[in-house]
Every structure is written in C-alpha cells, then in structure tokens.
Subunit: 362 residues, 2 copies
Amino acid sequence: MKDLDIRAVILAGGRGTRFWPLGRAARPKQFLKIAGSEPMLAETVRRIRPLVPPRRMVLVADAASTRRARRLLPKLPKASFMVEPEARNTAPALMLATARVFVENPEAVVVVLPADHLIRDKARFLARVRAAAAAAAREDALVIFGIPPSCPATGFGYVRHDRRAGRTIGGTEFYPVQAFKEKPDAATAREYVASGSYAWNSGMFVWRAGAFAGEIARSAPELEPAWTGLVAALKSRNGAALKRAFRLVPALSIDYALMEKAGRALVAAGDFGWSDVGSWSTLATIWPRDAAGNAARGDALALDARDCLVWNPGRLTALVGVHDLIVVDTGDALLVCGASSDQKVKDVVAALTGKKSHRKYV
Amino acid sequence: MKDLDIRAVILAGGRGTRFWPLGRAARPKQFLKIAGSEPMLAETVRRIRPLVPPRRMVLVADAASTRRARRLLPKLPKASFMVEPEARNTAPALMLATARVFVENPEAVVVVLPADHLIRDKARFLARVRAAAAAAAREDALVIFGIPPSCPATGFGYVRHDRRAGRTIGGTEFYPVQAFKEKPDAATAREYVASGSYAWNSGMFVWRAGAFAGEIARSAPELEPAWTGLVAALKSRNGAALKRAFRLVPALSIDYALMEKAGRALVAAGDFGWSDVGSWSTLATIWPRDAAGNAARGDALALDARDCLVWNPGRLTALVGVHDLIVVDTGDALLVCGASSDQKVKDVVAALTGKKSHRKYV
C-alpha cells in the first residue's frame, strides 16, 4: 500500500447554471463557497491531500477555469494544471489526464475526483480511496464509486452491480459493474432502489494508468488511435498533436466510452456522506437550519417563515409569512424561487442569455 | 368662489414602518416614490397647486421631516414650513396650522391634505375640493371627505352620516356627520358597508379658519385655552408660548377632539380614486401589472410566477415558481413577504429596533 504512487485527477472544468445568480458563466459551481467555508475546488484538494501530495495532483479544466484555479490554489505546482483543448465530456478529459500519468508512471494509480462534490465523512472517504487504489492495483480493475441511494432520485445516473459477487477489500465492499443507466424516471428509480443492485453514479473513479491502457486495447479498440496519439504527443511534448489526438476521442462520458465495456470494472461502496450539491435546494440538506427549518448565509430574520434557504451575505434578509423558498441575492441580481422549482433556474439563465440587455447577468 | 382665500395645510410628518425596508425612520412613506414617479409629498403639492399657490401652502411636520421636505420642495417659501414642537396626533397639528391661517385671515378656507395619499382622478379631486371650500365657507361647516367604501375594509376608520339629509353643492354630495368609528372588525365592517351610511375616514378636511374657531368656542370649550394660546403666541411670534399652548392640546385625532362634537360637520363624497397606500400589498392595486399579475419596479423576469410585487430598481429580479409574494430589495436589506402577511412588516421593524446590531436597518 505504501508503495502505491497515487495521483489525484481533479475535474475542475464545467460551467453549470444551476446556482444562478451566484454561479455565473465566469464563476461556476466549483468556485463557489456554497457547501463549506472554502470554494468547492479548494475543499476537494484539501480532502485528498492526506493521500496525495500537490506534485501528484493533476487539475484538468478549460482555460478560463484553469486561470481561476491557479489563483485559488497557488501552492499547486504549475505542472499540475492541465488545460483541456476544449470541453468534450469526461472520456476526452480522463483519457488526456490518464495518458499524462501513464507517460510518467504506468504503475501509478489515478483517483478521479470531480471538483464540485461534497463529502461529509472525510476520514471514511480517505479509507475508501485507499482501499480502492489497492483493489485497482491488485486486480487491474477500473473502479467507480457507487453511492448507496438514500432515495429514488431521478437526477443521477445509476450503476447496476452484481450483488452476489461482492467482496471486501481493505474494509470496503466491491462489486462487479453490470451496467450504467442514464437518469431514470420516478418509477424506474423506485425499482432500482428497491432491487438493492443499483448505486448512484458518483463520477469518482480509480484505476492504474496501465490497466486503463490495457482495457482500451482489450475492450474499446475504437479508443486506441486517440489513446496512442495522446501518449505519443505527451512524450514528444507536441501541443498540436495533443489537440489532434484529443479531438479523436468521442465526446462521451467515460462510463459509456470505457467503463461499461471493460472486462474488470468494479463498484466500490461510496458510503462517505456524498452529495453532488446539484442545486440550491440540495443546500437545505447541507446547511445548518434553525428550528423552523430556515437556513441562511447572511443575516436573516424569520417571522412566521419556515423551510427557506437564503444566500445574502453581508445584508439583512427578512422573511415574513413565507415557506419553502430559495432566496439568493448577489447585489446585482436577486432570485426568489419555490423550493420545488429550482430545476427551472437554468431556464432563467437560458432566458437571460437570449436577451442582449440581460447577458451581463449570465 | 373666486374670492375664496384657500390655504392648503399639508400634513407631512409621521414615521410609518409599513414600507420597510424602503421606508425607514429617516425616510417615511411621504418621501417614497411608491405611488408615482415622484415622492408622495411632492405629488400632494402638485395635485393641489391648480387651486392653491405655494405662498398659501402650510406644510406641518416634525423637524426631521421638515428638513427633508425643504430639500424636496425648494420652490415653497420658507414661511410655508411649520415645525411641530412634537408629534402629538392630528388635533394639535391642525389646531396649530389653522391658528396660523386664522391669524393671517379668519375668512381663509383651510384644506387639510395628508402627504401620503394617492388620488387617481385629479380633476375630480380639484372639483370636490372647490365645492367643499364653497360649502364650508357658505355654511360655516367643518367638512371631512368620506371615501365611498369599495369593500368592508378593517384598516380604516369610518364616518357615519345621515343619508336622508344629503344635499348637492357644486356637483358634490354632502351629508351631516353622525359619528366617527374606529377601525372595525370584519363583521362590523360588513354591516357598515351594507348600510350605505358609512364612508371611510380619509383624514382630509376643509373648514374656514373662523368657523373652526367658532366650533371650538361653541362645541369643544376644553380646547379653548390651547386655541387662544396658539393664536396669541403666533400673533406675538413667541416661540416658547407657542410650544406651551401646543402641549395644552390633547393628543387626540381632530375627528374626536372637534369634528364629532361640532354643530355643523359635513361629509363630502370623496369619489376621486383615493388610496391611503397603506402597505406594500396596496401597491398591487396601483402599479401596472403584467398578464400574470406581477408588478415590478426594476427589471423582473417571471417564470411560472404570478401576483408578485417587486421593488428592486436598477437590479434584476428573477421570480421562479412563486406566487403572491412581496419582494423588496434596497441594497442593504431584503424583504420577502407573503402578500397576505404585509401587516406583519411593522413587526420586523419592531424586532430590528430591539436589537442594537440591527438598528441600522430601521
């Protein structure tokens, strides 16, 4: 275990409109201080730090997010930042990052961490990652963390696994992956959860770089030209060739492009208090709430008000005779949204984008 | 009619907390641009201007409101501003202002106008005031404008009048006053409105200064020492004596202190689109609304939202999946209030006043 060369690949790109008006095109979710006291990206780095030193971290993002990330994380070496030629889903990003690790050390184990997730039990998270790294190295398997579903959510993809073939490695349960499922409808989600054979797809992966290369060769040969091209371009430090190889990767998620086809893919139990912090109403389950169920960042006064979420730091918010509202004030823009309507916030952004006079709010 | 010396007494004092957070202790309702494009006080002055030149206007207010009013109304002569020694209800304020007019010309007709009311039909308002001035002068009567009730409101006082003794003077209906009633409960309000003998007490009065003095002598001798003192102090320009006389007036409304006791008191029909603009939800009946019933000052975007009132000038407000809300953003403070809870806004101010750290918001 101590001999494992563990690398953290942090996915720090992505736009996201669901936290508007706090989240903007130039300030996506991973840069917001919504889950804790730090931006989510900084918390992601801090969380994995006990297992991975900064020089072994690779941060993959578009150019704009990379600039912002470098300002946020001045202690990360410049070489840790890897700019995606363009945002093209997770298969291109993860083939690029894994090729980078592969060129340095094919035996290194890659831990893929989205930069905009919350994990409440940090100690258990580290234990699970350690176990997954050991399992991935020992079994040459591609590992995905599956989150034990706490409800029949329709906002996540699911991973079906073989319950009867479970094993415990390093105190952590592992199961063979059977299938990846897109976001289901409500009835299907209820079936999934009732069956006990489905976990939420966390987007967190663990694999040995060499095993990843091996699975491409064995199970997904259509990715081979892109992979070979990425490795060659990284070895020769040829930027133009790297871009060309990157564009050869299909714009798919890594789940469909590789994981589902792989001969040895495992689900690891992600029982560490995970949340994707998917929208404003998610924060109602994360922020401390008062006796009436109200949660606020900023000074709030509630009179006959319950179950409201307020973001209005540095200012006073008075809630009177209201319930189940999301209130977000950023100084230039104000959102007042029903708690069950927060999926429509992206429609606000779409409407604003369509009007020239309103684009400044996007 | 042309010979009448009409004076406008504008009541511009008063605090008011019902428009918090826009209205503050230092910026009460009469200084807010909530009903039209100008502060309500400026609209009150502009409205009566065709009938009363600035030199015949008397603006009565506390010292702070007077300072603010002088900045707002630079064209009003300095002599028009009359500072109340302290705020003590309408009987002291109106005895003070009427004494001032009485000293100048006992034949002058005083028209009392609160500075924080809305009147939609300005031409009819002027016609009614003209008729009331003529009636007051001819019949030596104290006149109050009674608003024909459009609903059994519980937020107003009522005036009972003798329907059978109505007369038309100058195209305007006048009835003898029978009684002044405090704000009723809902059942009583329904009875009042059904009877056809009750009007809302508008707080707008018309009387000849000499007739006012005569009624005090005849019908309310307990006011005589204060009245005599006010007149004497104004004649001798003795500020200390004026304050002493002012404090002799009981801290009552003029309705109870004098009108109800007067031998000749008339109700004039106030059918000119009056509103006291009593709270945020009143504005929903005044501001133009879109097809979904939303009304906004400032840029508003409504998605699946209806019947909301927004004050947020210069900024964007997005309403998503909400209805019947009052949203007021003043930059330092934000109110989100259920439309039927706006009477509780004053409780917010009371709560803030009680906390030292929050007094800056009052």
